[in-house]
Symmetry: C2
Subunit: 343 residues, 2 copies
């Protein structure tokens, strides 16, 4: 089964992906922080059964996993691909249902009892919303959620109470990053109840010019309002990024082209490279493709997927053996040489 | 006719080339600084006739040129290839006899009436000396030199009086340069009456890790003594360079290899590049070949020749049209992409 992030349509837009996350809790159990082992087992089985059962087809495309059964490498790899959260892999007795193309997951016993996640390629948050909403309804057919008619969905952390919704776009904005205007934008969107973070979420540093923009407020607004407001702000950022790209092509094309081709040359030839530098150079390549500066023969290209594959966990999985940091730098260079020379 | 610097044996050694220069003046004329036009014409013809005449075969391999007849680009190109000095192209009424492979030249009416230059590939100063000495004898058969039994050959500048000899090695010592030990070496050889300069002689900055080491003292020692002393000092520098290369391969091989391959990647992919940066990266490539780090399919490689060709004059000649600095940077990148991708 091809994963959603292996799809080459990913490199078509400033927006890499659109994502919906719904936080839900089951009425009859206390929140996960104080949940007893026996209740956790029941919780996991109930959520599992609500999806994987004879009366719905969608369950066939989900696989059930328990995180305690997985190797650390498998866990890190899932986080690097944004299939599951960083929090759940650190928690004992946690489980998940993962869609076969990794485009959706239902995390069980994370911060909340249930976290439904759905992602779609490019600037298409409506699809992600529809899928998450379907899963939400499916679970609700069998499980009574903790819901308050005034507050909405009740959650372990108060910031998620209400809709329990976090909508987000993963955007590639290297030109805005280079312009030095990022801090201003970040401050401005904060006033609209939104936030901007690096590719790996809270506290993560920016890598490869990729940022996640998402709502912070979940209460007092409908899901539709939250999503529409986020779309509107994101579209403005996209326009700004595109304008900067057009300007550099119009006014400083030779230098811009040189920068991008040098990044290509280094990726084809380096013998060791950190993931941070690899992300930076791959960001140049993605920018090169999108601006038409790079024109290569091979049509199926997916720089975002290469970006994911150079992360430590994915790289170790790819090599099939444990590697320390300097070994990874060497294997990462080999992988990049091979991938980039294909173009 | 293949030029000496197009020979691929040039990339075999730390020493790129060995060079001899003899300064001579004709007894019956005043020094060039005060020479009248009518005497200059006579001087030029006499020297020309001493080489190109019916009684010697060697004259057939020399071409006579007058610098006033040449374009600026042709003149710069000859300086960049070290075929003639930077001084002679700036002087009116100067001429030269140039050997068809550019390995020898007889400059007429430069600082001295006659400057005989001969170069040989690699660490082989004896060949250069023999050829220059033959030319010297040939001229002396027809022309009486300004010679004093106490002082030796008399020259326009007192520093050349005596043997009139400047022997030099052009050496590629990037590892010594990187080690930061260059200033110490330069000071040390000064005590032996020798000097170290950049690739384009006095006052020129170092480019691509290439230096010229030559004698400063021409008086009070025989030609043989001067050459032997220079050889001995140069051999010590060569050993130091080789030791540094062995050390880096032994102790830091992965990083060293990465640096060299990155330089290769940039040279293959850049879209604009200054001559200074090109020299730096080509120096890495030459070092890569010599240490066995770079192993390419194409056996005929001559990085030194590529280094010469990226100089402004040569590049303009190669492109067949006048180019300003930023146009040159773009054409230089194209030339380098093409040359390096061949390997």
């Amino acid at each position: 089964m091809k994963k959603w992030y292996e799809d080459e349509r990913i490199d078509k837009d400033v927006v890499i992906s659109s994502r919906i996350r719904l936080a839900r809790n089951i009425k009859k159990y206390p929140f996960s922080t104080i949940l007893q082992k026996s209740d956790i087992d029941k919780l996991i089985n109930e959520v599992k059964d609500s999806i994987i059962n004879d009366s719905n087809v969608i369950g066939n495309s989900f696989e059930f996993i328990k995180f305690d059964d997985l190797s650390n490498i498998d866990k890190y790899s899932m986080v690097e691909n944004h299939t599951v959260s960083n929090d759940i892999i650190k928690k004992n007795d946690s489980a998940a249902l993962i869609k076969n193309d990794d485009s959706a997951s239902i995390l069980i016993n994370e911060e909340d009892h249930i976290r439904i996640q759905s992602v779609s390629i490019g600037n298409d948050i409506n699809s992600a919303w529809e899928f998450a909403n379907n899963i939400d309804n499916l679970i609700e057919e069998r499980i009574e959620y903790a819901f308050d008619k005034d507050f909405g969905y009740l959650t372990s952390c108060i910031t998620n109470t209400g809709t329990g919704l976090r909508a987000s776009f993963m955007i590639h904005i290297p030109m805005i990053e280079m312009s030095g205007n990022l801090a201003n934008i970040s401050r401005a969107i904060g006033k609209f109840g939104m936030t901007m973070r690096g590719i790996y979420g809270e506290g993560s540093e920016s890598l490869g010019g990729i940022y996640q923009i998402s709502n912070q407020i979940t209460l007092g607004k409908s899901e539709k309002e939250i999503i529409e407001a986020l779309k509107s702000v994101t579209n403005q950022i996209i326009e700004q990024e595109k304008e900067l790209r057009n300007n550099v092509i119009k006014n400083n094309s030779a230098k811009f082209e040189d920068k991008i081709y040098r990044s290509y040359g280094i990726l084809c030839s380096c013998r060791q490279i950190s993931s941070k530098e690899a992300m930076k150079l791959l960001s140049d390549i993605r920018l090169g493709f999108m601006t038409g500066i790079l024109k290569f023969n091979k049509p199926e290209k997916n720089i975002y997927n290469i970006m994911m594959n150079v992360q430590p966990g994915n790289l170790i999985k790819l090599c099939g053996k444990n590697l320390n940091e300097s070994e990874r730098d060497i294997e990462r260079a080999k992988y990049l040489n091979e991938q980039l020379r294909k173009f």
